[in-house]
Amino acid sequence: MSMFRRTFPRKARDLRRYPGFRAMTWACMIFLYGPIIVIAIYSFNEIRSITVWGGFSLDWYVMAFKDELIQRAAITSLIVAVSASTISTCFAIAAAIAMRRRMFRGREGVFVIISLPLIVPEIISAVASLAFFVLVGIPLGIGSILLAHSVFCIPFAYLPISSRLDGIEPYFDEAARDLYANGWRAFTHVLFPLMFPGVLSGFMLAFIISLDDFIITNFVAGPGATTLPLAIYGLVRTGLTPEINAISTLLLGVSITFVTLSYLVGRMQARVSP
């Protein structure tokens, strides 16, 4: 053993290595990605059979795009996701600036309230929101969906923004103030450009969280409005079809793109950091 160590010092002496851990990691990746990849492959299957491969085709995508229910649901989803993520990002920017590097009484309480949507199990938020909207008399529909989404998007937008702000030294905006910029100009010309990667990252996360939400939307949507996940769920109830595979694959593609972009923006911010 000792001779072996001397001959191959780097590999054999890596005390951190454990046999089987690499295999487990690969198994884990196959487990995480296998189902997604399989459903994506089958969405291009020419024939309806789910066991036989009948050749490549985009028919199911064409069919999904032509489906009027899906079209309307996609539009609703997009409107809600864009509005909810914009609203929550604006709120989160304000809150993150207020919380930045300042200790004040009640700071921890404020943080708990902002992260509350992450702590409360989704099913509880869902039924509570339903009970609330019915009691207060807010009609169930696109408005109630938007309200509910804005709430749970706030922490998702807040976390990347505040972590970005923590990396910006206060002397940047102090310098701006010394050069006679007023508070607003210091914000628009100095602080905001510096924190922008965090804002973008938070916005994208809020956007996909809203686009993907099923449980809360399911309860507060009412009969009038349907989002994409609700439409997919409705279709699944009647049986799995290649059309579902196609829409699912599309939505997966959108989410994966946004997460990857958000991650890359986050990395970029780490490198540019002052």
């Binding site: 487990f31 004040f104 989704e122 099913i123 099923f214 946004f258």
Partner: protein, 311 residues
């Protein structure tokens, strides 16, 4: 804080501080108001609802009664109106609890080696692996569960491939069973276990492992006595992040359990959709919320105790 320590501040500083406090309140207001009005208030409402009488077509009648909570433990006999002890609902809670514990354990068994392997890679590879684990964490849970259902159902690609390979002659029934739900939960929340453990191992001082090996501990003793105990904070955090959503999960048992393997989340949902007993649903939600809060408080206390021990 500052105004307590320094009693005699000049007037201008005081004014500036007041202005700053006002600005801070204004900036915090939109987020706090939104969350308070549309989440805290609703939670309070279902707390109240859990003590009211159910309306005939959903909703509530404003009459106080603890019936919703009594209904958990007792069934009212139709003939003589007496209360008979019943385990139907307790059973759902018990089953959900076991299901959540088992999936958390499996997540740990898969997640720890994965997190460890990723954390000990060179930086470049590390970032790629972390991205690979992070992506499923954000991707639509409903669609991921549908994909899993598609894969493991009786006539799905998994069974088909196994039969084609000759490994089995009849499809294995996984979908719509207890095991199906378990697989769905592990699949849903596995990244929540890997990421916090990864974060602790990344900060781990591997000179300790060297020291252990120098003192003739073998690989697995080092793992058991040195690495695992020191990675406890990450393991506990990961377990909580898997356990809490598993306990209240709705999608996995709904799609993969096929209506036979109800969990707490489905019980709550049913009361607000199908059988329409809002007070009972609210009580079920409140009990779940209590379990979650107790778990979190327990965790927070452990954390602070661990901090004291370190100092």
């Amino acid at each position: 804080m500052a105004d307590v320590v320094q009693p005699a501040l000049p007037e201008s500083t005081k004014r500036r501080e007041r202005a700053q406090r006002l600005l801070r309140a204004t900036l915090l207001m939109p987020s706090l108001l939104t969350i308070t009005a549309f989440l805290v208030a609703p939670l309070f409402i279902i707390l109240v609802y859990s003590f009211l009488t159910p309306g005939t077509y959903g909703g509530v009648i404003w009459e106080f009664t603890p019936n919703a909570y009594i209904q958990f433990l007792f069934e009212r006999d139709i003939f003589d109106d007496s209360l008979v002890f019943s385990t139907a609902y307790l059973g759902i809670y018990g089953r959900s609890f076991i299901q959540a514990v088992v999936s958390t354990s499996i997540c740990f068994l898969i997640g720890f080696p994965t997190a460890y392997f990723i954390a000990t890679r060179p930086v470049r590879q590390k970032n790629m692996w972390v991205l690979l684990v992070t992506v499923p964490y954000w991707v639509n849970l409903l669609i991921r569960t549908i994909a899993m259902l598609f894969l493991i159902r009786d006539e799905g690609p998994l069974n088909h491939t196994l039969i084609w390979l000759g490994a089995i002659s009849d499809p294995i029934h996984i979908a719509y069973t207890y095991y199906g739900v378990g697989i769905g939960l592990v699949y849903s929340y596995l990244p929540f276990m890997i990421l916090p453990i990864y974060a602790t191992i990344e900060r781990f001082d591997f000179r300790l492992v060297e020291a252990a090996r120098d003192l003739y501990a073998d690989r697995w003793t080092t793992m058991w006595r040195i690495i695992l105990p020191l990675c406890r904070p990450g393991i506990v955090a990961g377990s909580l992040l898997v356990f809490i959503p598993s306990l209240g999960s709705f999608i996995a048992p709904d799609l993969l359990g096929g209506g036979k393997n109800l969990m707490i989340g489905n019980l709550i949902a049913l009361q607000f959709q199908g059988s329409r007993n809002w007070p009972f649903g609210s009580a079920a939600a409140m009990i779940l919320m209590t379990v979650v809060l107790v778990t979190l408080v327990f965790y927070a206390r452990q954390q602070s105790r661990a901090k004291v021990r370190l100092h």
